[in-house]
Each structure stands twice: as structure tokens, then as C-alpha cells.
Amino acid sequence: MNAEYLMRRVFYSLLAFMVSVTLTFVLLHLMPGDYLHSILPYLAEKNPDAARMFREQFGLNRSISEQYFLYMANVIRGNWGYSFLYGQPVLAIIGEKLRWTLVILFPSTVLSIIIGMAVGAYSGWKNGSKTDLSVLNFMIFVGAVPSYWWAMLFILIFGFHLNLFPLGGYVSIDALENGVCIFDVLRHAALPIAALTISSVPGTYYLMRNSTLQTTGEEYVLTARSKGLTEMEVLRHHALKNAMLPMVTVIALELAQMITGSVFVETIFSWPGLGLLTFEALRVRDLPLLQGIFLIDTLMVILANIAADFSYPLIDPRVKVGENV
């Protein structure tokens, strides 16, 4: 691997992270009303001393530039401030919520990749056939339905009318006595995972279909056919491997979309992850918490991109990092 290329990637990632820190800082601090005003509206008039102490404790009385550099230094040191809403370190809250988000985000990403790729490859391979067209039309429809509507339909049908799954939350009430049971959590996670998966499958499907379509015209496919291999063998051993290559970068990009989807899905299912936390933080204007969430979102996307960049040459030996990439 090329050291210069690696350095450049890391530098740009760092820059992107810095920009997002600056951006969120500036925006969040320009927001109307400070925290004191929103939790104790009349404190400043009734008890100026208490208000002053409060502002000092949270650093709200310092100049903006001072707050900015302080924040930068703290972010790098891993001290992401204290949440106004929870009164706990932001990183600790995010760490706990991130786990819950990953509980639904990870399976739905894997599922949507597998389903999207399998159906996409088949559809692209059978390009123009009746099956391909009906699958394509179906996927256009599925992709056009917003994630929040899938979530709500799932609750309505499977939770409310069929009573197969719980309506929301992450454990049943008997967890108070018996402790959290993994199967109980999975039962609660099933619908959110299904909603997230179904809303991200069409994206993977389109790209895989296009990618497979392109390989059908390649000469190695022609060679494989002329060797007398069956269609299935050609697809599995020759076309598929090459069609899967561009998917690596796409999957990384899809993460940002999954984060968006999880805000809606988690809010609707009251799933205690980052999405629901975003919603709560927005409602009470919890500045440090919001900054933390944005930073972690950005970090996730950056890491996914870097991982994609570096896994590419591992998958495709023809590509060496640093050469024409």
C-alpha cells in the first residue's frame, strides 16, 4: 500500500471531521435561546446569582471563540462535554445509545446487502425478461415508500392487528423482574430491522442490477459461455465476482442513508438508539449532545469510506492503492 495515498486519505478525513466540528459548533451556538432559558425560563430575572453560577458551570458565559477552542481541544481529548438533558458525559450516553442503534443497524445493513445483491444480480442477469421487469417495478415501488411509512405500516399490521410483535420499546415490562432477555430484545428489534431493511434494499438492488448488466457484455463472460458452462456457473463464478466490486464503495455511502432512516424508524418504534436520541436532543436543544451525535454520525461515515477505500485492493488484486485511484 502506498504511504502517500494513505496519508492523503487520513488528512482529508481529518479535515472533514474538523469542518463538521466547526460547522455544528457555529450552528448550534447560533441557535435561538440558550439552555438556561429553555429549562428555567425566568431564572435569569428571579435569581441572577443562580443564573450566573449556572452559566459559569456550563461555560455559557465565555466568548464564542473561547468556547470553540475549548470544544476543539476537548473533542480531541475525548471529552465531548456534558449533556444538558441527561447531566452525563455526552460520549457515555452516545456510547450506550450507539450500541442499541447498531443492534438494528448492523443486521439490517447485512440483510439489505444480501437481499439487494442476490435479487439485483438475478434481475440484471435476466435483463429484459418478465421476471426482471416485474422485480424492477416492484423495487421502484418499494423504494418510493418512505421509511417512516414502512415502520408505521409494520406496527399497524404486525404489531397492532396481528399482535405478533410488540408495538415499540426494546424489552417487555417483565424485564424488571427477570432481567433483560436476549430473545425478548430480538422480538422487539424484529420490526425496526425489517423496516430499515426494506427501505434500503432497493438502493442496493439498483446498483447491483446495473453492475451485473455491465458484466454481461464482457468478454470473459463470453469465454466462460463458450467453454460450455451452464448459465448458473457463468453467473456465480465469473460475472458475480466482478459485478460485486463496485458495491464496496456503495455500501459505505449507504450508511449515511441508513442513519437518516434510523432517526425515523427509532422514533416510531421508541427504539432507544441514536436516532431517538437525536429527536429528543433536538426537542430540548441539548447543544453538547447534538454536537456529539453529529460528530459520531460523521465519524461513522468517514470510517466507512476509509474502510471501503482500503478493502478495495484486497478484493480486487488489479487495483493497488495509490495507483490511479
Binding site: 472533514a16 441557535m31 433536538l282
Partner: protein
């Protein structure tokens, strides 16, 4: 469905929505915000879809809601496509330092997740449909810059551009008269897909409680029905219609974009029956 019929169906449904948005005050006698009946009335002849918990007519709210959703989607898309076309065009045409700066900035911007940023910005500027569509346009515009830029890059080297330069045409003239018309088909397809995405996002913001409080929109309708009893009491006529309305419009725009794609990429025409 073939691309041609997809295009016609999409256009037809979109047209119906636009008509509903324009004519909503003629179709329904009730004001969407007026308290015109008993709360939580079942569907009847007077109130086609019943009334909500405040006694507002759900059918007229549904009709008027078309306006906000269409404005957000179309305006946001128009802005974002204009931004990406303009910046992409300038970047690719002039090249050099300007191109470098723009490309690098886009690289950096692309890694920042737009939706969380949009949430904060919406709170910051106070939610109004014009602010929301403006923000979506500017934030979403960065995504399209690359695509337009690469299209223009191949055009800049075209013979007709060299020809225009040779007879002494100015930069502005070349960009607007010679390059822009060749980028427009691509921009149109981007516009339709962007409109679909922003419309869904606008309704989503309404659902999250970040909608414009002064207008009737489907997101707020869904949210109200979901949290104020429409869901728990099983009043499907309250919860389902706005959801169906969003989905149908979104499907129509998807079909329209899918049908248009063929026009810009003739290779798709050849690929069998599609």
C-alpha cells in the same frame, strides 16, 4: 411496465396532484384549519374522511396538504439542481484552481451526513416551508456537483466548444448557449429524483415535529393521527390517507424519473424490452 408507460403514468398522477393542490379550495367546502364538525367523527357524506381530534375535516386537510408537500419537493429540487448545475459547470469549465477548490470542498462536504445537519438548520432558522426547501436545496446540491461536473468535463473538449471559442464567443455565451443545453437532460432527471427525495424528507420533517406550523402538511397529519389516538383507536381514515397520498406521489415521481432516464441515456433504449 415499459419506460414509456412509466413516464405517462408518472406524469398523469403528478398532474392530478398539481390539480388537487390548485383546486383544493373548490373541491372541498371546508377550511383545512377550521373546526367544522364534532371531533373524531366517522367518515360520512358531510366529511368524506371524518374529522380529527380537533374537529377539522380530514379530507380538506389532505387536499390542502398537497400544496406544502409539492412546494417543498419541487422548490427544493429546483434549488439543488440549479446549485449543482451552476457550480459543476463553472468548476469544470474553468478548471485549474477553481476546480481544485470546488472538488476538494465537495469531497469534504460529501462525508458530512446531510440529514442530521438539516435537522439542526431547520430548528435554527425556524421551520417554514420555504426555509426547509431552501436548506434542502443548498445541502443536497453538493451531491449533484460531481455528476454535472464530469458531464461538463467531456463537453469542454468537444469540437463545437472549440469552434465557438475560435469564432470568438465569450465564456458566458459558451457556457449558457453551448454547454448548458447539453447538460439540461441530465439535470432534468436529477430534478425529478431530487423532488421525490425532498418531498419525502419534507413530510418526514413534519412527522418529526419540525414542519412549518403555519401550513397543513401530511407529515404533521400523520404525526397527529399517530400520537393523538388515530392509531390506538384504529381510525384508519385518519392515519392511512396521508400516508397513501405521500406514497402515491413518491411512486409517481419515481416512475417519471425512470421514464426520463431513457431520454438521456440512449443505451438503455437498446437493452431489450425495458
Amino acid at each position: 411496465m415499459s419506460r414509456k408507460s412509466a413516464f405517462s403514468v408518472g406524469l398523469l398522477v403528478l398532474g392530478a396532484y398539481i390539480l388537487a393542490a390548485i383546486l383544493s379550495s373548490f373541491i372541498t367546502p371546508y377550511s383545512p384549519t377550521g373546526l367544522v364538525g364534532r371531533p373524531l367523527d366517522d367518515p360520512s357524506e358531510a366529511h368524506l374522511l371524518g374529522t380529527n381530534d380537533l374537529g377539522q375535516d380530514i379530507f380538506s386537510r389532505l387536499l390542502y396538504g398537497t400544496r406544502a408537500t409539492l412546494i417543498i419537493g419541487l422548490l427544493g429540487a429546483l434549488l439543488s439542481v440549479s446549485v449543482s448545475t451552476f457550480v459543476g459547470l463553472v468548476s469544470a469549465y474553468y478548471g485549474g484552481g477553481i476546480d481544485e477548490v470546488i472538488t476538494r470542498s465537495v469531497d469534504v462536504m460529501m462525508t458530512i451526513p446531510t440529514f442530521p445537519l438539516l435537522l439542526v438548520l431547520t430548528i435554527f432558522f425556524a421551520p417554514s416551508i420555504f426555509v426547509i426547501s431552501g436548506l434542502m436545496g443548498v445541502l443536497g446540491g453538493t451531491q449533484g456537483i460531481r455528476i454535472i461536473r464530469s458531464q461538463v468535463l467531456s463537453l469542454v473538449e468537444a469540437n463545437f466548444v472549440y469552434g465557438a471559442k475560435a469564432i470568438g464567443a465569450g465564456d458566458l455565451r459558451i457556457m449558457t448557449r453551448h454547454i448548458l443545453p447539453n447538460v439540461l437532460p441530465l439535470a432534468t432527471v436529477k430534478f425529478v429524483f431530487a423532488a421525490q427525495r425532498y418531498m419525502l424528507m419534507g413530510v418526514g420533517l413534519g412527522f418529526l415535529g419540525l414542519g412549518d406550523p403555519s401550513v397543513v402538511d401530511w407529515g404533521q397529519m400523520i404525526s397527529r393521527a399517530y400520537y393523538n389516538g388515530g392509531f390506538a383507536l384504529g381510525l384508519w381514515w385518519w392515519l392511512i390517507p396521508p400516508g397513501i397520498a405521500v406514497t402515491l406521489l413518491s411512486v409517481a415521481l419515481a416512475l417519471l424519473g425512470y421514464g426520463l432516464e431513457e431520454e438521456i441515456d440512449p443505451r438503455l433504449k437498446r437493452s431489450a424490452a425495458i
